[in-house]
């Protein structure tokens, strides 16, 4: 009989999942694709300021298999009914289910992956390629003493006596002496000092790392909604990033025009004000808050200032002085100038002016559109990293 039937063998299924390796590699590629598109994803408005546990849908392109294929203007053939008429719509995009033996048409390689914001943020920070050593350089404060058991000792205080181990030690000694026959006759076999076993405890210090983000924003009349949105995106990233890095993160919002005050988040982003700008006022306020509540020996201070670069010329020297003072107390101080595309070069640019400030923890970035946010954020943190590596 030339025909062979091989019956079903469940064990062979369990033994080999032959595509496992290729599937793993494919998933890695999908993740790579997400990482590549992270700047676009971050720029999506829906993500900024959303709940951390929210699930977002992320469209990914990237794991396509390219070949030479025909484009839009290639007609196809289908099978219709009696009353199919010219002009009738029969599908979308490429030919509806054309005989496609070789996978030779651009398929819809559009994945929509469900991903939690948490995961996305993790991935973002993976993307930043931050070394794992960060914690070493954090300013940590010892907050708590903990007692933890660690091994046993011969000596100790009576309350730490481990009765069970002590009894076991005595039985061992007794059995040993029976073997040698020495104490076999003895009726009593009392505890000996050598039997006593004490629990040992060590004191552990738990370290806590604190960080405070001071978001300073120009709320003068020239800051419109778009600029505020860009600023907000940036603050959001910074906050998320610090949350991943530190145990305790506090956030302080300082709004300023000609004078500065601390405001709630709601107010910070939604309340428009009018008037001119004294950047120095915002910095002074930040310095004041740091001095009162967040002393740099206990807190890692991050200050970021968003403005559109319009400042009264007369205020510039004062702003520079205040900025210098801020660089002395802050881990990182950033200045982001927001000039949406199309705004042109109106007004002055503080970036040029701030170039006078020589401090290795100061960084200026320029944000023109939402796609710039992620690269700018990277530049900003790269400064932090460079410092840490140097340290």
């Amino acid at each position: 009989m030339e025909t062979i039937f091989r019956s079903y063998d469940p064990s062979s299924v369990q033994r080999s999942d032959r595509s496992a390796g290729d599937r793993l590699r494919h998933r890695q590629k999908v993740h790579e694709a997400i990482r590549h598109n992270i700047a676009d994803i971050i720029a999506e408005e829906s993500i900024i300021g959303k709940d951390r546990n929210r699930i977002v849908k992320v469209p990914i392109r990237g794991v396509k298999e390219y070949r030479f294929v025909y484009g839009e203007n290639s007609p196809g053939v289908g099978q219709g009914g009696e009353n199919t008429q010219p002009g009738q719509v029969v599908g979308q995009g490429k030919g509806p289910g054309q005989g496609d033996p070789a996978g030779d048409r651009p398929g819809v390689d559009y994945y929509e992956t469900d991903i939690s914001l948490e995961e996305l943020i993790d991935m973002m920070f993976e993307d930043l390629e931050l070394p794992d050593l960060e914690r070493k350089h954090l300013r940590e404060t010892e907050v708590q003493q903990l007692y933890r058991r660690k091994g046993y000792r011969r000596k100790g205080v009576r309350v730490h006596l481990d009765k069970r181990r002590t009894a076991i030690a005595r039985i061992k000694r007794k059995k040993a002496s029976e073997k040698t026959g020495g104490a076999a006759a003895a009726q009593r076999f009392p505890f000996h000092n050598d039997d006593l076993t004490y629990r040992h405890t060590v004191t552990e210090m738990r370290r806590e790392s604190n960080a405070v983000v001071l978001c300073v924003m120009d709320t003068s009349g020239s800051m419109d909604t778009m600029k505020k949105y860009l600023a907000r995106s940036f603050f959001f990233l910074l906050y998320r990033f610090l949350c991943a890095k530190y145990q305790n993160v506090e956030i302080v919002f300082i709004a300023h025009h000609t004078e500065a005050r601390q405001v709630s988040e709601e107010e910070f982003f939604h309340k428009g004000e009018s008037g001119g700008t004294f950047i120095s006022s915002g910095y002074r306020k930040a310095l004041e808050i740091i001095d009162q509540r967040y002393h740099p020996t206990l807190w890692n201070v991050y200050v970021f200032h968003c403005s559109d670069g319009d400042n009264f010329d007369s205020d510039n020297p004062a702003a520079l002085q205040a900025a210098k003072e801020l660089t002395e107390v802050a881990n990182l101080f950033g200045y982001g100038e927001i000039k949406p595309l199309g705004a042109g070069y109106y007004g002055s640019s503080m970036i040029q002016f701030f170039s006078q400030l020589q401090a290795d923890n100061f960084q200026t970035v320029q944000i023109q559109r939402k796609e710039d946010i992620w690269p700018c954020f990277r530049t900003f943190l790269a400064r932090d990293r460079a410092r840490e590596e140097a340290a």
Binding site: F5, S19, Y70, S74, G78, Q79, G80, T84
Partner: protein, 479 residues
């Protein structure tokens, strides 16, 4: 789920089916059946049914895609999968009912017979299929494990090679000329045609052919050409190009005969199962299943349906020709069956449809042509007196390798710069530019120097050049 049949039962049915198949005149390879569950089936589908296949992430991708579709009930799994080898191997789904297995076994013999007898499959060595794929897999794994090569480099090369694997010769029944034969051919071509009046005519000037040109004739096998003409490639890279090329070649006959092959298998499973004289319950189930497989898909094409319709029409035309048909093709010379077996041997989808897809069939099947208009596919032609031929032409261009643009290497020393110059034989269908860009990038990676592709974009001759890291598109002045 316990299977509703035993292997002994299947063997008994198989014996009956095989006897019937032989009586009908089918001539299959020896057949092996393997019963597997859906996970295994997915695995086999992804790796083209091969028991051994080299790894690449794209197979993981298609697994995920198939599995997702299957899990969400978007698509079922095939009842069977047959691979073209000697002996032929087919996989049967364990959870199918006895009737489905019977139907499937009959269907498999149809494919098997087709593999063995159709001319397009002659170029392959079916007895070595499994071993060849195994050897390829072993070699690729060896390169992956080689510390001086490693997975990343292998993957990078495979990515590029896969992109170009279908850019190869289509009609493998025509033997490829060796370089020496090409030189002879070139010399013969350049000789002036024999002239019976040469004594009174002026002898035409003889222009010696440029034998230094590479390639002498446009070259369709892009991967092989690169393998043979890029001195920078190391041995393992050349070997990978060969492997990818050979695997693609293995699939070309199947791509080229999809409609015929599916139609043939469907035609025969119907005849065989009907001849089995099934008990009534099974017969009813057979009719349901058969109609499910053969039902025309709305607004697209079901190759099973189309193929079987054409085969049945051939049989009818030769058995019972209408007077007009007799006038057209002369008196009857052979029976319908004999004609079927002849066509099964000498046609592929393109020629099959060209010869046997008649006006009546185009009308009966309600074929229509659709075109893209503003993101939608819109019906552009329906089967009426004026348009049925245009529809047929469009269909013929969309079967087999017709869906792959014909791109050949024209010159490997373009601009005297060792740039690779390719020509797209434009037939009214433009290339998808994003894909062309990325594919040229792969080609550039393999060739290691500038590559240029001549094509037509919106009716204008254009040159797509890929240099270093970017694509430029230049309009060409047609000469």
């Amino acid at each position: 789920m316990a299977a509703a049949y035993t292997v002994a039962e299947l063997e008994a049915w198989n014996e009956r089916i095989l006897i019937l198949a032989r009586q009908f005149g089918l001539d299959p390879y020896p057949q092996e059946f393997e019963i597997c569950d859906h996970e295994q089936m997915l695995g086999y589908m992804v790796y083209s049914g091969m028991p051994s296949h080299y790894p690449h992430w794209s197979y993981g991708k298609s697994y995920e895609k198939l599995k997702t579709l299957y899990d969400y009930g978007m698509s079922g799994l095939p009842y069977e999968m047959v691979i073209n080898s000697d002996p032929s191997i087919a996989y049967l789904m364990r959870d199918n009912t006895l009737l489905l297995q019977v139907l499937t076994i009959a269907h498999v013999y149809g494919h098997n017979d087709f593999f063995k007898n159709n001319f397009t499959f002659r170029s392959g060595r079916a007895e070595f299929t499994i071993e060849t794929f195994k050897a390829h897999a072993d070699r690729v794994r060896k390169y992956v494990e080689d510390p001086s090569i490693g997975r990343e480099k292998v993957e990078r090369l495979l990515d590029a090679a896969h992109a170009l694997s279908l850019q190869c010769r289509r009609n493998l029944a025509v033997r490829k000329q060796t370089p020496d034969e090409q030189i002879d051919q070139r010399l013969a071509d350049s000789r002036p045609a024999a002239d019976p009046f040469q004594t009174i005519h002026r002898r035409p000037d003889y222009a010696p052919p440029d034998l230094n040109r590479v390639p002498l004739y446009p070259e369709a096998d892009i991967l092989l050409f690169i393998r043979d003409h890029n001195p920078q490639l190391s041995d393992w890279e050349k070997d990978l190009l060969t492997i990818v090329h050979e695997e693609a070649q293995y699939f070309i006959p199947q791509i080229e005969t999809k409609i015929m092959n599916e139609g043939w298998a469907s035609y025969w499973h119907k005849r065989i199962v009907e001849a089995l004289k099934l008990p009534q319950g099974m017969h009813l189930e057979f009719m349901v299943r058969h109609n499910q497989v053969l039902s025309p898909a709305a607004n697209s094409l079901n190759p099973y349906h189309l193929g079987m319709k054409v085969w049945e029409a051939i049989e009818r035309r030769w058995d019972h020709p209408t007077p007009e048909e007799e006038k057209q093709s002369g008196p009857k010379t052979k029976s319908g069956r004999a004609k079927l077996f002849e066509a099964r041997e000498v046609e592929r989808d393109v020629s099959f449809l060209r010869r046997y897809l008649t006006e009546e069939l185009v009308r009966e099947l309600n074929l229509f042509e659709h075109q893209s208009r503003g993101g939608d596919r819109v019906v552009s032609r329906v089967a009426d007196d004026e348009n049925w031929q245009a529809i047929k032409e469009t269909l013929i261009r969309n079967v087999g390798m017709g869906t792959v643009p014909t791109i050949q290497i024209d010159n490997a020393d373009y601009n005297n710069n060792r740039a690779l110059f390719l020509k797209h034989a434009h037939d009214g269908r433009d290339l998808q530019l994003e894909y062309a860009d990325k594919t040229l990038q792969y080609l550039h990676q393999l060739w290691g120097r500038e590559v240029a592709l001549e094509t037509e974009i919106n009716g204008k001759k254009s040159l797509l050049c890929f240099t270093e890291d970017k694509l430029s598109i230049k309009p060409l002045h047609s000469t």
